[in-house]
């Protein structure tokens, strides 16, 4: 199956067309265009203030774009008020109605569309079952736990079977363990209901766990929109590379070779080699981006085209993995990760040890900006 975003004939469910939103002199969203397809789980990822929530609120109808248009199923929804849109939103604060029971919270939207009583009851029961809240139907929001409240908010926003569900930092208030469980639940529910989800988050792990595609935003613009693995392995800029996970960036000047570039990066050091399809001019400034887990540590000088020597400056022990910070003679600090597949007492390297680092030609990504 071809992913819809790679299929030129696929019709997008949502289409942002040159959307700009400014608050006074502050440009929250800057001439942004984006297509999101049916049944996608799309994550908008970025630091706070990058415009991702504004984008979501424009889809819900709480903000109107300053210019440009937003199409939902080929229809311009810009002039449509939020109560007339077939879009529902799950709020970061959950926004549960404190004066209504869990049942009435979920039934709220259905009652507004005058759904017949019997149908309404079965729909609410269906939602309660989906979110495993049957036992709490008669409780008030303040009588249930944070995780249960989060599920009520989800059930309420799904009850009207919207074409599109918007989730604003839906797991921000949950602790880490619960958050991880909930992420999988959310994916399950999305697959069961077949609804298109757009989630806003600043947590890259969350975005990568749940999403079919991730859009990384910075200062009102989309920097890169790709599937999670593509965005992690092939970031298009140093911004994306350093926003998602850990990265080593080595700056230097490129010399084009047959299959990629050679990088001159420090005085008196051998060139680093990198395979790339991107064409660089001779002497062009660029960065090599290498993920720490793709770097190997050796006690002896290895047989490799890319190798550097340094001393262990710091070790971050995280249980399953360890990150070694290695200071090179040139002053660069490179992070290298190893899986702790042996007991820590048998660890081969310790502070101030002299070590060699190496990586393959395909491990690094060459970035022009």
């Amino acid at each position: 199956m071809v992913d819809p975003w790679n299929d030129p004939d696929a019709k997008p469910l949502i289409s942002f067309q040159n959307v700009t939103k400014s608050f006074g002199s502050f440009l929250a969203v800057d001439n942004l265009s984006l297509d999101i397809f049916e049944k996608e789980f799309f994550a908008l990822l970025g630091p706070s203030g990058c415009g991702k929530t504004t984008l979501l609120r424009m889809l819900a109808g709480f903000e109107a774009p300053t210019s440009g248009s937003i199409l939902l199923a080929n229809r311009d929804i810009t002039p449509i008020p939020p109560n007339k849109r077939t879009v529902n939103m799950m709020f970061q604060s959950y926004a549960l109605f404190p004066h209504l029971s869990v049942y009435d919270n979920i039934a709220f939207g259905l009652r507004r569309q005058k759904m017949p009583k019997a149908q309404l009851a079965s729909r609410v029961d269906e939602m309660l079952t989906l979110t495993r809240l049957e036992r709490f139907a008669n409780r008030r929001p303040h009588q249930i736990s944070g995780g249960q409240r989060q599920r009520v908010a989800l059930a309420r926003s799904l009850a009207k079977a919207p074409k599109l569900l918007l989730l604003d930092e839906p797991m921000g208030a949950l602790d880490k363990k619960l958050r991880q469980e909930t992420q999988f639940e959310l994916v399950d529910i999305q697959e069961k209901t077949g609804t298109t989800f757009v989630i806003v988050t600043h947590d890259q792990e969350e975005a990568m766990t749940v999403a079919t595609r991730v859009g990384v935003m910075n200062e009102g613009q989309l920097v890169q929109v790709e599937a999670p693995d593509v965005i992690y392995e092939n970031p298009n800029s140093t911004y994306v590379a350093s926003f998602l996970g850990q990265i080593n960036l080595i700056e230097g000047r490129a010399t084009p070779t047959a299959s990629g570039i050679d990088l001159v990066w420090a005085e008196g050091q051998p060139r680093l080699h990198c395979k790339t399809d991107v064409v660089f001019s001779s002497g062009q400034r660029c960065h090599l981006a290498i993920r720490p887990e793709k770097i190997m540590i050796h006690a002896e000088e290895p047989e490799s085209r890319n190798k550097v020597c340094g001393t262990v400056l710091d070790i971050a022990y995280l249980g399953n993995i360890s990150t070694y910070h290695v200071e090179l003679i040139s002053g660069h600090v490179i992070k290298a990760q190893t899986t702790n597949d042996r007991r820590i007492s048998r660890r081969s390297f310790t502070w101030d040890d002299s070590v060699w680092l190496s990586w393959t030609d395909t491990a690094a990504v060459a970035l022009a900006n």
Binding site: P82, V87, M89, A95, F97, G109, R112
Partner: protein
């Protein structure tokens, strides 16, 4: 629970005596059979019966209740609307000025409020009577309501209203179904405040009342100038009873709400 020390007991006794002794004396003497207010001559409820015969007082009481009920209701509606706009609306030009102006009557001397209203009513040729008192009381109690309601609105999560809109409510329905139930305690408190302010206002009412309508505080004030009669004591006792019942009921309702919430 800690026991009261002798110092605490004394302080408590003096404090409450200071607050309530005059009231207690007034209540006790309302059951005095003597016409002289300061001489005790035995228990009697005759002044209460005589009060019921006094058409002037009954008329005044009726005017006062009508004024309080109508003016506090209008003030609650207007005050809630003003609070809603000032707390909720997007920034508009002069918003700070407006929110400052709505609180100004709180510190305005009543004499000035009364006088300015009097001048206005004369200016537009409105005969002084029930209508003018209601207008005047609405004017000055509205800002109290708006203060009470806006402090509640400021603590009220705005995304609740957005959620209501998102789930298909018109802005009006969102207000009625979500905002109002959640700010209801403040709205009711505002109404009670406006009602009691109107009930015991003397200064503004005396500027805006006319020969056709006199409120109870004006009637009491003018009759006391001719000497305190035991009837006044009886009337005051009834007022105190009414206010106490109101306050206790309000306290019980809020306590029950609190218990239910926990």
């Amino acid at each position: 629970m800690r026991r009261l020390t002798w110092f605490n007991t004394t302080a408590l006794t003096f404090g409450f005596a200071f607050l309530y002794l005059p009231v207690v004396i007034l209540v006790v003497y309302s059951f005095n059979s003597s016409r002289l207010v300061t001489v005790w001559a035995g228990f009697s409820t005759k002044w209460y019966f005589e009060l019921l015969q006094n058409q002037l007082f009954i008329d005044a009481a009726w005017v006062t209740l009508r004024v309080a009920a109508i003016s506090s209701t209008i003030a609650t509606i207007l005050g809630t609307m003003a609070a809603y706009v000032l707390v909720r609306s997007a920034r508009f030009y002069g918003r700070t000025l407006f929110s400052g102006m709505i609180y100004a009557p709180l510190v305005m001397p009543e004499v000035i409020t009364g006088l300015s209203l009097l001048l206005l009513f004369i200016g537009i040729g409105l005969d002084r009577g029930l209508v003018t008192i209601i207008l005047a009381h609405t004017t000055f109690s509205m800002c109290f309501v708006s203060v009470v309601v806006s402090s509640r609105l400021a603590n009220f999560d705005r995304s609740l209203e957005e959620a209501a809109l998102d789930l298909g409510c018109t802005p009006f329905h969102a207000f009625c179904l979500v905002t109002l139930p959640n700010i209801a305690p403040a709205v009711i408190a505002g109404w009670l405040l406006a009602f009691s302010l109107s009930l015991d206002d003397l200064v503004i009412a005396s500027f805006t009342a006319g020969p056709s309508a006199t409120t109870l505080p004006i009637r009491i004030w003018s009759s006391v100038r001719l000497g305190v009669s035991p009837e006044i004591n009886a009337l005051s006792t009834l007022l105190i009873a009414m206010v106490s019942i109101g306050v206790i009921t309000a306290a019980l309702i809020s306590k029950r709400n609190l218990l239910r919430q926990n």
